[in-house]
Amino acid sequence: MKSFELHCHVGVGPSVTGEALVADDNFSARYDLDRIKGIFSRPQHKLFGQSYVDKILVFNTAKGGVASAWMLHEMVSRKLAPRAILFNNVNPILAQGGALADMALCDRFAEGDVTQLIQTGDRVSVNPELGLVTVERD
């Protein structure tokens, strides 16, 4: 098993561990999700049809509107939410949403493009307070 560390900016939310679901794509809770079913519902999204529940999601950046700031909180309340979201660069809305929902959320990785550094299926531990992400791969 291979293990390595990635270093990012200080984030928001608690330390969590989970399985990565990665896409070289962008993210909006409003645009991309069926939040009732817990899946990506936008046909053009690279994760279309896949479940995001309890995953560590990894994307390039955030897109679109302000609704995600409430939606992460709403998703967490129904326990149909990702455990964390990692970005190369995030917009204020997702950071604000992570802060309200107490969901782990980090961006700005020193090692480069996080959508290339982490692979779907990796076991990922996120420590937003330290800005540290640990990746384990079989």
């Binding site: 950046t61 509107g65 609704a67 950071a95 802060a99």
Partner: protein, 415 residues
Amino acid sequence: MRLNNEEQAMLNGEMGEPRRWAMDHMIRVGRFFDAENFVPVAQAHIMADTESLGEAGVKFLEQIAACPQDQRRVRIPMITDPRGIDFCHYKRLKQTDLMASLEQRTIDAFEAMGILMTNTCINYQTIMPPVRGEHLAFGDTGVVIYCNSVLGAYSNFEGGPSALAAGLTGRTPRYALHLDQNRKATKRYRITHQPKSLSDWGALGGIVGTRAGSYWEVPVIEGIESQPGSDEMKHMGAAMASYGSIPLFHIVGVTPEAHTLEAVSRPGLLETDTISKQDFDSFFARYGGKGDKVDVVVFSAPQLSIIEMQSIADLLDGKKIHKDTSLLAVTSPVVAADARRMGITERIESSGAIVLEGMCFYQSYAREMGEANGWKRLMSNSAKLVNIIGGYGYQPTLSNMEDCVASAIAGKIVL
């Protein structure tokens, strides 16, 4: 973050739990973006439709609203983005009583906080346009990009919780677009095809937004030969923010911070990316459907100005919408009152169309409305709306206002 005495007192809970929460929330966000301190803001604007809030979000607001009056009232003028329900029409749209109940609880909570229920995403056209240099905490990305770009105000995208925190405290963390160094152009575009219709302006916004692609990019656009008006800037900005999460653009010779290219960019520093007629054609081609049955034609996102309402009425005069197609024209309460007074609403609704006020289509349980009404193929002249609505299970078509109305009359997509 450095706090002054008043900010520290709020954080300590000396001015009540809502302001303590607000300071704690904003410090988390400010730390994320390396804000050194706070900046006072003149107004706040909150997006909080109940589809986004859910039961959990409504309860969150009700907890604040239940606090003593001196603790729960916002400290600066604070207004609302469109709601999810028009109480006069929700049954006709097959929205449910549960949705209406959540809506009413949210309104009650906001009113207890002293928030003005303006219910609009065109406050810059109808309520109180910001002044250049004003620092604000505005929600709705279309509002933010318009106020930053066209009016020269200073606002980040403030999601509902952060806008509320700003309203409760009168300040927001000083990062991103509150700092002059982050307002310079980072991407340069030259157009070789001139937008004409509002959907063309939206397409231009969509193209630039897609290419620039990040909140941290600032596009500057050259080559525009006509003088865009408020509705053109509205559609372009809303689409740019939607496709690219862009909060600020410059147009050389048009927008206030870019009287010259040099004012927003050092000459020669940025490579020029050309946007041609082919790029516009490709953009529209993504949203096909010619000849398909059209279920619903929607004019919304952003809400319509009184000029757009008049244009729709002019196109519908003496005509009838196809029996199997719905046409929705969505506007703000202020514009709706004017439209009623001027007879514009009657002219639109005589065709069988519906004028909705104080809401926005995609913030109104669009998935549930679509399923309840059997709406699948949606047509709009809003590039922003067609970008959003695919995730809600619709097949969107984008064209100009004339084609949209003609399609609603024909019952099939006319392009």
